[in-house]
């Protein structure tokens, strides 16, 4: 049946309503505010390679936050991503230094990331450890392993011409770097999995109400384990890229990255209570964090204010998400009312 032609007003209203119910409305608003501040107060923001640099800076956190979003949606939290990322970076760098082909070194690093995620998942779902404790233990284990292997001395001397490209220090084509391409593909694939596959629905179901999900026949333990495996894989990919960008792998490479990844996911609309989140939101959340640091540096704000600004952003993002949730509820109620009046 051909669809009924819609008036311009109706199209505008529908677009507006779609925006209001979008869970990433909060972070979009925040990004817009930052962009406006930058536009008016810091003309240099749009100069030269700044935007390009900004994206290059945040790719690692972006990739980590994609995996973290899936873990948060399924009702968990992964504190080990920074340490696992560093360990995988160390594995890749050491193998290349020992003469292994890049491809094999990267496969090995990814396998380590998958193994770390699998262990996290099994500790949580089979042994029954709380997510926080299991991933905290993995954080210590992965970090300690790298310290023992390197004795605190950074791994160096592994950079090859190809690795400069993989690390994003040389563009792939035009302004596009390999890390940007990887982040985009990863975001699209994971976004598609969450939005359009049974597994995606299971992640949301497990995070919203694990008991109800189990009673509906969803293999809750397996679904949650898969979320951690995905997070470990993302950490490995991030590690491979960061080792290329950094030119060395110090033992403390991953310090603080877990907090940034969690912050990006939360800013992007994910909930610590589970059942809520969006990959696109996490990507924007990571961009928001990078943008804030960029503005601070460009404005010459003393670095002591950086942490305060980050805290304020987190609170603003949660408030913006809350307001967006209210707007979403109101819009959905309005739509339901309209539908029921049409039906009547």
């Amino acid at each position: 049946m051909p669809s009924r032609p819609r008036s311009a007003g109706q199209v505008t209203r529908n677009a507006w309503e779609r925006l209001l119910v979008d869970p990433t409305l909060g972070v979009i608003s925040l990004l817009l505010i930052f962009a406006l501040i930058a536009a008016f107060a810091l003309p240099v923001f749009y100069a030269g390679n700044n935007i390009y640099n900004l994206v290059g800076t945040i790719i690692t956190v972006m990739i980590l936050s994609i995996g973290m979003t899936v873990v948060l949606i399924s009702g968990g939290i992964d504190l080990s991503v920074g340490a696992v990322m560093a360990l995988c970076a160390g594995v890749a760098a050491t193998l290349i230094k020992m003469g292994a082909p890049l491809f094999l070194a990267f496969i090995a690093a990814i396998l380590v990331g998958i193994a770390a995620g699998l262990v996290n998942g099994l500790l949580i779902t089979r042994v029954g450890l709380p997510d926080f404790i299991a991933t905290l233990a993995m954080m210590g284990f992965a970090s300690g392993l790298l310290y023992i292997a390197t004795q605190g001395v950074p791994v160096i001397g592994y950079m090859t011409d190809e690795y400069y490209v993989i690390g994003g220090l040389r563009p792939l084509f035009g302004p596009v770097t390999f890390p940007i391409l990887v982040a985009v593909i990863l975001a699209l694939v994971v976004g598609w999995v969450l939005a359009s596959t049974k597994l995606g629905t299971h992640f949301f179901a497990v995070g919203s109400n694990a008991l109800a999900a189990r009673q509906s026949g969803i293999p809750v333990r397996w679904v949650k384990t898969q979320a951690y495996v995905l997070s470990g894989t993302c950490a490995a990919i991030a590690g491979i890229i960061l080792a290329g960008r950094n030119n060395n792998v110090p033992a403390d490479l991953g310090t603080g990255y877990e907090i940034q990844a969690i912050s990006a996911a939360i800013i992007g609309g994910a909930s610590l209570m589970g059942g809520r989140g969006r990959v696109f939101g996490a990507v924007l959340g990571a961009l928001t964090l990078a943008l804030a640091i960029n503005i601070i540096n460009l404005a010459g704000v003393p670095s002591s204010y950086q942490k305060i600004v980050m805290g304020v952003i987190l609170i603003l993002a949660v408030i913006a998400n809350y307001l967006s949730e209210l707007a979403r509820g109101a819009t959905l109620r309005r739509q339901a009312k309209r539908l029921s009046s049409i039906a009547a």
Binding site: G152, N294, I296, L298, S303
Partner: protein
């Protein structure tokens, strides 16, 4: 720092510099003496320097000291703020000296290392680590920590009462004891503090190097460590003091590089966006300076070639940075002398714990700016100190 802000006139800056140079020269002499043969009151400690075969002194000396050692085993704790390349260099250099003393005088060592794994700058972990060494009845502990001065001194005091001697290394005691000339031991519960003055032996000489290379003209940006860090505070103070002596030089911007390369790279990229015409980047440590060097490459700008381009200077003196200096990616670095620091720590410990000697409360080791002209010598010296079993 400008004079309008109330800083002392330029000439007064030379006094601490002279003092630093004098202290550095004295320390160098002490180190040389310790490394070669006899030290002050007739007691001998022999060695082989950073490399070469062990020289244990004359037969009589060797027998006398060996008798004093009595085959004793010293149980020593090593607590750096973090396990990094710099502290590994210090530790390996210490190992090198320990093995020389073991070979000459039969002293045995039991060594335990424990550094913070999470936040090197919080100092919280350091407190726990040092307390752990105390409860395990170590003879002596070497500590470098970002924990509050007063907190650590109280812990040292409590540990000393239980028979543990404390030695600080690479610390920032110069900040906590401005009146050390009047009372060098005021408020200190350590046997000795082995290090250098971050202001005049690191920040200041980096600034002087830039000024000389740029002939007193140009804009500079700084990549600093975390705000609140004492190392950052002191090095920045010395650097700004040096730059303030040259009216043609201006520090136009600074950003936090968190003492790590990727943050240093990001900070430098932001600063280069805002100030594309700068002449120099001062990275307060070497990793951040190497990050800044990458930012120069990414921005398509030129590194300093001796006449033009951007000069990048860092501070630490890491083996991993030497190739970058050779390739003109890093113009220079202040070598804060991990080699002599490690060796002097062990010599001081040996003198005090075994020979019962008094040792100076502040032992300042010499530092030097390394650039392409002396990188081979500097690298060879560090590399030689890292040779050996590498374990204790």
């Amino acid at each position: 720092m400008s004079q309008e802000n109330g800083s002392p006139p330029v000439s007064s800056r030379t006094r601490p510099l002279r003092r630093a140079i004098a202290l550095g020269a004295s320390a160098a002499l002490l180190v040389a003496l310790a490394a070669c043969s006899t030290v002050d009151d007739g007691s001998s400690i022999s060695g082989k320097g950073a490399s070469g075969s062990a020289n244990c002194g004359s037969g009589d000396e060797q027998s006398a000291i060996t008798a004093a050692v009595k085959g004793r085993t010293l149980k020593v704790g090593f607590a750096p703020p973090i396990l990094s390349e710099f502290y590994t260099q210090v530790e390996k250099s210490a190992f090198n000296r320990m093995s020389e003393l073991e070979e000459c005088y039969g002293i045995k060592w039991e060594w335990a290392r424990q550094g913070a794994l999470n936040d090197a700058h919080s100092g919280v972990e350091a407190v726990g680590i040092v307390e752990n060494f105390i409860s395990n009845k170590f003879d002596a502990v070497f500590v470098c920590s970002a924990a509050a001065h007063a907190t650590m001194q109280e812990i040292y005091k409590a540990g000393s009462e239980k028979g543990v001697d404390f030695y600080q290394f690479n610390s920032t005691e110069e900040l906590e004891n401005p009146s050390q000339a009047d009372d060098p031991t005021a408020g200190l519960s350590t046997v000795s503090n082995i290090g250098y003055d971050d202001r005049w032996q690191s920040g200041y000489i980096a600034g002087q190097y830039l000024a000389k290379a740029l002939q007193g003209e140009g804009q500079i940006v700084q990549i600093l460590g975390p705000s609140g860090s004492d190392w950052t505070k002191l090095r920045q103070q010395g650097f700004e003091a040096a730059i303030s002596e040259f009216p043609g030089m201006t520090i136009v911007g600074s950003a936090d590089g968190g003492y790590v390369r990727d943050k240093g790279l990001t900070a430098a990229q932001d600063l280069l966006t805002k100030f594309p015409d700068i002449a120099a980047i001062y990275g307060e440590n070497e990793d951040m300076a190497l990050g800044a060097s990458q930012a120069i490459d990414l921005a398509g700008l030129k590194h300093w070639d001796g006449t033009k381009g951007i000069i990048t200077i860092g501070a630490d003196g890491l083996i991993s940075g030497m190739d970058s200096i050779r390739q003109d990616k890093l113009s220079a670095t202040v070598d804060v002398n991990s080699v002599d620091m490690g060796r002097t720590m062990i010599d001081t410990l040996f003198q005090h714990e075994i020979l019962g000697m008094t040792v100076a409360q502040f032992i300042q080791i010499p530092t030097v700016v390394i650039d392409k002209t002396n990188v081979d010598w500097a690298e060879a010296k560090i590399a030689a100190s890292q040779a050996g079993s590498g374990k204790y």
